[in-house]
Symmetry: C2
Subunit: 219 residues, 2 copies
């Protein structure tokens, strides 16, 4: 089956796993591994080998019988599929604790994802630098966004301010938003959004734990 890269149709569950393969395989490459089999990837990831083969097939990478994949080729195929081969610049709004953590997150650089600048409304942080990235007044967002053709925005402001920030992002040319504020943003259909909600995520762990506890007490 030929893999037409111009129309990448990757199912969401696979799309969620591909970056995790990439992270694992990068660590293996750093260890000096040059060839790797589906079976060993599957073992490390807690998956079955058939699943790994099916997922990796979607990147166009071809494994060889017995020896498996050439790691360098596989990494390149994943980089192209996931868009890591082109630099992605983001503008982050809200340089509070979470915003600062993202600015400090060195790992993004490994994937060619960079936060070009951060924006805030607080005089306490405007004019400072976090990990070499400037924190600017949010008033400068629209003009800088247009001038630098930045298409990715990260929202790290409180829930109350998030919709207004999103509106300004969209009118400034942002086309994809990574939203850490715990609200559902109203956005035009042309804008893509990925929501992160840490409290909601922890709540799932909490609920699973409590459900299990009750189950085991009844046994």
């Amino acid at each position: 089956m030929p893999n037409d890269k111009r129309i990448p149709q990757i199912p969401l569950p696979t799309l969620k796993r591909l970056p995790v393969y990439y992270q694992y395989l990068t660590r293996q490459a750093h260890k000096g591994v040059t060839d790797i089999s589906c079976a060993s990837i599957a073992k490390a990831m807690g998956l079955v080998a058939v699943q790994v083969r099916k997922d990796l097939q979607l990147t166009g990478a071809a494994g060889r019988p017995k020896t498996g994949y050439r790691l360098k080729e596989l990494l390149e195929a994943l980089e192209e599929t996931l868009g890591y081969n082109n630099k992605t610049e983001m503008f982050l709004v809200g340089a509070g604790s979470l915003g600062k953590a993202l600015l400090h997150h060195q790992k993004f650089e490994d994937y060619n994802i960079g936060i070009a600048a951060a924006f805030d409304v607080s005089d306490a942080v405007i004019g400072t630098e976090i990990d070499g990235k400037p924190v600017l007044s949010f008033q400068k967002f629209p003009s800088l966004c247009r001038r630098m053709h930045v298409k990715f925005g990260v929202i790290c402001v409180p829930a109350e301010a998030a919709q207004e920030v999103a509106n300004i992002m969209v009118s400034s040319g942002i086309e994809a938003i990574w939203n850490f504020a715990p609200i559902t943003l109203e956005l035009p259909d042309t804008v893509i959004v990925q929501n992160e909600n840490l409290t909601a995520s922890f709540s799932i762990l909490l609920k699973k734990y409590k459900t299990k506890k009750i189950g085991s007490e009844r046994e």
Copy 2:
């Protein structure tokens, strides 16, 4: 249909939405709202009213025709369902930038979730306090964990160290792990895990954006 709270069987998609309802409803309560309808919740969350009614039914809360839910009762039902009515204490390991952001994350307190202490191996942070929470030597983790009966662990260490930290957590009595390291942990079946992977999450946004771009260029 009676709602037997002792065997909470909540489907995962609903479980993911319940904390987001709770966050939205808390904000409404702060604004002085006392009664709220499914329709208005649905509008704010970008869902259909039937879905909201079905989700909230699982908490045991009963809405009334026309006026909807009494907000206070609905919040209490959600708190009980999600386990926010009992204090949950966590131990966090790895006081780097992400660990610090979680320690600073005031919102957790609103849900009765608290980070009791942080642990690290670096002398640069051991002995300091972050937002009033002590950063202790990781060597003290096992004894303190047992003494304080802490069951929830948060892993914010690099991928290379995460499995070892997880092993020590499990042998110290941790039963639920919130894992921010980008690896698949090998854990006993008795331990519950919730994985967060920020780079993987961003990659989904990136891929959706690129797929959409290619689609629109071809139209």
